[in-house]
Symmetry: C2
Subunit: 228 residues, 2 copies
């Protein structure tokens, strides 16, 4: 779609200047609405209103709800994608990608469900995936294994991104103890801050995810595998 | 809260008989609304309307929005929790729990965000977690490791539960190829059915998750670990 500003209704005196209507300004406004009010609130009508244009103008730039998904996904992906992972060792590349993915979606939890359930069409996302695959395959990984590492990493990151946004401790030791779950009470005993606990657990599991694939990759190379 | 039916307005002639208002009927109606319309639609007002009672009656049974979360979580957990995992070997227990978790949330994707971001208070969920921990700890696992296995498993299952609900292939080989992502095109080439592809990938990653912990548990027992 063209990046040309649409023809708007004649400007009234005193009306503030607006930025030109581009895919980027539309994507940013859509993401702002979704972050603030949730995805169902992000209708073409509200989006047009917030951008100060009429709905038909917006349809010149966006292919309706599906188009909004593409634009918003590409915008979030631009927070994640780092072409430099191609120069990293595979374990560093996985860690870097996983952390970036987790951080981006921690900032935009209201995007997770729709983006997880709507087919990917935008080039930015496909190129991000391709870069991840190239990095691993270039270091001797089998392609299907690299793809599963990618999917597992995404889901791990998304779950923790939700939890990072919990308003309070997901498992409050006092509540747990009162309900007769002694092991759960013991293991959550020192938890005091949801965000930092989530961060800690995510990093541990990300490390495990990497070690899991290290074992497999080592084993597929023969019996004399080294442990780093 | 009591399971007593509330006192309703006098019945008009011809009005159909309703089941008594219990926590269970409320939970089932709330989940039906959420499955159908999404969580934001499940207001106390709509819930009361669908149950055929006045909103104040509903407040006798449910502690507002937070109470709805507790009731819905407990209802979904009852689809997952199987006390018999305590008699299983840890790897079978993890597999059984993971599959049940994935299946339950595949059936209720609209519950995932709110349940992932709202602190757990209901006894059913806490007992389900406690049973999982007891099963692993009873077979020699360190408690923190068992807890991280639980969290990792949950997030893995939730991500795939979303994807299982995608209306079409998340990654369509034709779209991918057209956008210049050759490795991604190759690895998605044979994908034709979103639900069965997701199922297959989830099962693979669940198996990996189990092997990952098998390696760790073996290694913590000394250098002469066996591979099954």
């Amino acid at each position: 779609m063209a990046e040309m500003p649409v023809v708007d209704p004649p400007r009234r005196p005193g009306r503030p200047t607006r930025p030109a209507l581009t895919e980027d300004t539309i994507a940013r406004e859509a993401l702002a609405i979704i972050d603030e009010l949730g995805w169902p609130a992000c209708t073409m009508k509200l989006l047009a209103h917030r951008l100060g244009v009429r709905s038909p103008s917006l349809y010149h730039h966006v292919d309706g709800q599906k188009g909004i998904v593409d634009l918003v996904r590409a915008l979030v992906v631009r927070e994640i994608h780092n072409p430099a992972i191609q120069g990293m060792r595979w374990d560093d590349a996985i860690r870097s990608f996983g952390i970036a993915y987790y951080r981006a979606f921690s900032g935009h939890p209201n995007t997770i469900q729709v983006l997880s359930m709507t087919p990917v069409r935008d080039r930015d996302t496909l190129i991000m995936y391709e870069t991840f695959l190239q990095t691993l395959v270039g270091q001797g990984w089998e392609l299907p294994r690299a793809f599963e590492a990618l999917l597992g990493l995404e889901h791990l990151a998304l779950g923790f991104a939700y939890e990072w946004n919990a308003e309070d401790l997901m498992l409050d030791p006092a509540v747990v103890a009162a309900q007769g779950a002694p092991l759960l009470a013991e293991v959550t005993r020192d938890r005091t801050d949801q965000a930092s606990d989530v961060e800690h657990t995510f990093m541990n599991l990300l490390g495990r995810h990497i070690e899991m694939f290290r074992h497999e990759v080592d084993e597929s190379k023969g019996p004399h595998h080294e442990h780093p």
